[in-house]
Symmetry: D2
Subunit: 302 residues, 4 copies
C-alpha cells in the first residue's frame, strides 16, 4: 500500500488546482464580481475554469459584509430555477416516464448557482474555503434570511463530499503534530483545556485516548474528536477524570471506557452528524483490544 | 505533512465501513433483496445502515442478469418521484420563493433510489463497486433501456465524488508496484503493450514518461493514463516512438514532448472527462522543468 | 522511493531483536551477571545470542552504582587483551606481511569485551540503550578512572554507527510531533526555552528555522539541533532575535541567516562532532533557496 | 511514528554527501590518485573531506584492472601498520594497563588505509559502492593474493554497518516495485525464475510468501531473500512446489511452511551470514499467524 501513502500529500499540493495555472494562459479576469461569475458559469469541464474559479473565490472572500450579502442576493435572483419549466417538466414526466424526461427535471430543479459552488470546490484548498464560506454565511443568516438558501445548498454538497467513505479515524496523542494539537486545545468545547500540560495529561497517559475524524481534502483540520478515559470503574464525577494529578490505571485493571467529551470543530459543517459514527468506530476499536470493555458516555456534546 | 501520509491507507482499510461491524449487533439481514432495500432506506445517518448496505450490495452483485434487470425495474417503479407533488411544489415556489419551498423541490425532484446508491457508497470499497456496477449496467443497457436511469444517476453522483479536487496525478515508472503496472498493460487501448519488456521500454528510459490519475477511494486502479515521449524533434511515425530498440534522447537535446497514447481505464466512469485535465496537468509538470518544451499530441484517444 | 518509507518503522519495531524471540526456545538465562556475559560471548552469529544479549542488558541496567562499577572492572580483567601474544604477533607480521598475520593482530589488539557491546547493540533499542549506558559510565568516570576504557571503546563503536552516512537532517517546525518538540525544549542549552509559546515563537514564524540531525536507530531523539533567524540585517543583540513579540521579516527582505543557538542533545555521544556537518548542511539548504544569503553565527555552542 | 517515515528517503537523497557540495568551495582535486588519497587522509571530520572522498571514489572506480591492483598495492605499502611501534605499545601496556596505553594499541594495530574506507563510505551511495568495490576485489583476488587484505578489512567494516540492528525484513509480493522484482528474478540462484508469469506464480498466490532483508543505506538492493510455500503437507518433490499451474491451498488447510529457496544477492557481502536470521525471523512471523505451523526447509542455499 506504500505506493499510495502520499496520495493525500499530492491532493494537498494542489496539482490540479487553480493556483497551478497561470492566468496569462487564459482570457480576462474580471474585477467585476458578477462578470467573474459569468466567466466561471460559462466554462464547463475545462482547465481554464479553474483559473476563473480561483479568481472569483478570492473576490468573494474579500467582500465586506454588505457587499457579501448583496452578492448572494444577486446570485439568487439571476440564477434561480424556473418554476414554470419545472412544473411543465413534471407533467411531461408523469405522462412519459423516460430517462430524458427525468433528466430535464434534474436539471430544472437545481438553481444554477449550485453548480457555481461545485466549481469553487475545485480551486486550491477549495473545500476548506467553502466550509469557511458557509461558516460566514451562517453568521450573517439571522439578519439576512435569504442566505438560508446557500447555507442549505452547501450542506447538501457537503453531505456528498464528507460522506462516511471519506472520513478517516486517527488517534490524536502526544506524537501528533503540535499544529493539530493546538487546534484540539482551541476546539475543545466541553471541558476546557487550559495549557499544554493539561493537554498532555489528557493525551499521553496510557489510560487516556483521543480520536478524531479527518478528511483528505482538509487534512490539517480535525472535524470532530472524542476524549476517552480508560478506568477500572465508573467514575463518580468528571473532575476525577480530568484532573491533571491522578494515578494511572494500569492495563490489566481497565474494564470501562468513559467517553467524557466530544467536540465538533467546524461550524461550517453544522448539520452533518459525525458524532454517531465517531463513537461507534472508537468503541469498536477499543473493544477489539479488550472485548469485555464497558463503554459509557458522561458527555455533554457541543 | 507526514502526519497525513497514511490517511489514504486508513480510508482503504475500511475503518468505518460495513464489514467492520458485526451483523449480530443489529437486526435481521433479509435474504429477500427488496426487503433488504427497505432496511437500507429506512435507516438514516446511523451506523447500522452500513451493515444493511453491505448486505444489500452483496445481494445485488450476486444477481444473475435477468434478476439484476428485474431488481432495477422494481426500484424504478417503487422509488420513483411523484410528478404531481413536484408540479405542486414548483407552483408553490413560484408564488413564494422561500428556502423551505425550494427544499421541497429538491427533495421531490430526486427519485428515492438515488439515496440508495449514496448509502451503498459507504460500504467497504463501495466506490469501486459502484463503478463496476455502472459498468455492468451499461453493458446491459442496450437491450434494457430503462437501465439508462441508473447509468445516468450514477454518473451524476460520480461527478461529485470524482471531481478534480480529488484526483491525484502520479508518475508511473519502473518503481511502481507490479500490481499497478499489469493494469497499465491491460488498459493500454491505443498501442498495445505486448510484454513486460515492452512496458519497461515505455517507462524506464530517461526520455519516456507515463502519468496517471488516481482517486483516493479506489487507489489500486488508475483512472486514465498518458504515455509521453521526450524527443529532439517531431517524430515522423508512431513506430519510431514505440519501438523497443532505439537510441535514447539525452536530456540536453530534448525539445519536444509527444503525447502518443492516452487510455481511459474504467468504463464505469464513462462520461466524466479526465483527459483534458490530465493533459494540461502533465504539460504543466513537464514545462516546469523545461520551459521551452513543445507539447504535441499524435494520439488517438480511447 | 515509497517502498522504503517504512523501512525505519520496521527497524524500530524490533523485528530482529531480542524481545522478538521467546526465551523458552533457548537455554538457561543466568541470573548471575558474569555467567550471563559468558552466554553472550559464547554464541556467535546465532539468533539465540539476541535473547542472551537482551537478558544481559536488562541485568546491567538494573545494577546499582557500586555493582555497576564492579561489573566493568571484572570485564576489564577477564576479557583483556594479551599483550604478549600481541607483541609476538607484531614481530611475526614484521617478518611476514601476510593477511593472515595481520588478522591475528586485529584479533589480538581488541579486548574481547568490545565484542560484547556489539552484541548488546543488536537488542531492542540497543543503540539508544548503549548511548544511555555511556552517559552513565561518563557520569561515574571521574571517581572510577578505569571506566575510561569503556567510555572510549563505546565512542569508537559509535563513530561507526553514527557516521555521516546515517545522519538525517530534518526540519523541526510547528508540525513536528509534540513528543519531539518537548525534547527541543529540554535540550536547548544556550538560550533557554521557557514555554510552548516561547517555542512556537522560535519555530513557526516564516523567518525562523530549526533543523536537527536524527539517526534511524534512535528516531525519537534529536542528536543535535540548530536554531536560525532569517533577518534583513545583522542583529545587534541576541535579545532582538529571541524576544517573542517582534515584527516578522518578510521573504523578499531576508538577506542574512543568523545561526543563534546550537545544542547537542546526547551526552552519551560526546566526542562525535556533528556540529560542523549540521552547520554546513543547513547553510547549503538555505542557500539553495536564496543564493546571496549571508550566513553568520553568533552562537555559543553547548 | 509517521514523522520518521521519510528518514530513509532523506538518507538516500544524499543530504550530507559528497555530491551535495560543490568542489569549487574547496581546494584542488588532484588527478593523481595517490595525491587524492593524501587529500582524503589529511582531513578529518570536516565537510571538505566529503568532496575529496567523492572525487577519490570516482577515480578508483575508473581504474583499469592493472592500475586497480597497483593502486591497492601502493596503499598497502604506504599506509601499513608499524609492527615495531605496535610491539612496543604491547609491552608498555603489559606494564601499565591504562586506557591511554590501550588507545595507542588500538591506533597502532589498524592500517591507516582502513580509515580511508570509512571516509569513502560517507559519499553518495558510498555503502553500495563499497560493496561493489569488494565484489571487484574478490573477483581479482585469486591472481592477486595481496588483495585479501582489503577483502577482509571491508568485511570487518561491513560487519559493523550491516549488523542485525540495521536489517529490515520486508515482504516481497506483487505490489512490490518492478525495479525490485526484476532483481529477485536476477538473483534467484536456486530455482531459476524464467519470466514475469513465473515470478507472479511465486509471489501472488495466497499460499506463497517471499521475504527479503534490506538495509537503509542500500534500499534498492535486497541482501538476501527466501521463498516459502504454505502447504497442507510435506511436498514430495520441489516440482510440486514451483510449477506454475497448480491448485492453491486454502488458508484453513495450511499446516506446513516449506522454505524452498534462499538466495544471497550481494557477493560483496560474502562472509556475513544473514541466512540464519532471515529464516528465524520469517519462521517467527509466520508462526504468529498460525501457531501450529510446521517449518521445513528443502532448500539448497546459494
Amino acid at each position: 500500500m506504500t505506493f499510495f501513502k502520499n496520495l493525500i500529500k499530492s491532493i494537498m499540493s494542489g496539482e490540479l488546482k487553480g493556483r497551478y495555472f497561470r492566468s496569462k494562459d487564459f482570457g480576462v479576469l474580471h474585477k467585476d464580481i458578477n462578470k467573474a461569475v459569468e466567466s466561471v458559469m460559462s466554462k464547463s469541464g475545462e482547465v481554464s475554469s479553474l483559473v476563473y474559479a480561483e479568481h472569483l473565490f478570492n473576490l468573494i472572500e474579500d467582500l465586506g459584509d454588505k457587499q457579501f450579502i448583496d452578492f448572494f442576493n444577486i446570485l439568487l435572483e439571476k440564477y434561480d430555477i424556473d418554476p414554470n419549466s419545472l412544473s411543465k417538466a413534471s407533467i411531461e414526466y408523469s405522462k412519459n416516464k423516460t430517462q430524458k424526461n427525468l433528466e430535464v427535471i434534474t436539471r430544472s430543479s437545481e438553481p444554477q448557482w449550485v453548480e457555481l459552488f461545485r466549481r469553487l470546490n475545485t480551486v486550491s484548498e477549495g473545500t476548506l474555503r467553502l466550509v469557511k464560506l458557509r461558516e460566514r454565511i451562517r453568521s450573517l443568516e439571522k439578519d439576512n434570511p435569504s442566505l438560508a438558501f446557500f447555507d442549505r445548498a452547501l450542506l447538501n454538497l457537503f453531505k456528498h463530499w464528507f460522506n462516511p467513505s471519506f472520513l478517516v479515524l486517527k488517534r490524536v496523542d502526544w506524537s501528533t503534530p503540535a499544529s493539530i494539537l493546538e487546534k484540539i486545545i482551541a476546539y475543545e468545547a466541553v471541558h476546557e483545556i487550559n495549557s499544554w500540560s493539561d493537554l498532555r495529561a489528557r493525551l499521553e497517559p496510557e489510560d487516556r485516548r483521543c480520536f478524531a475524524f479527518f478528511h483528505p481534502l482538509i487534512p490539517n483540520e480535525p472535524l470532530i474528536f472524542v476524549e476517552v478515559a480508560l478506568t477500572d470503574n465508573m467514575p463518580n464525577t468528571i473532575d476525577e477524570v480530568i484532573k491533571i494529578d491522578r494515578s494511572i490505571t494500569i492495563d490489566k485493571d481497565i474494564n470501562t471506557a468513559v467517553f467524557y467529551s466530544i467536540s465538533s470543530c467546524q461550524d461550517g459543517l453544522s448539520g452533518i452528524s459525525f458524532g454517531n459514527f465517531l463513537i461507534k468506530a472508537v468503541a469498536h476499536k477499543l473493544k477489539r483490544k479488550n472485548e469485555g470493555l464497558i463503554i459509557c458516555q458522561i458527555l455533554l456534546m457541543r
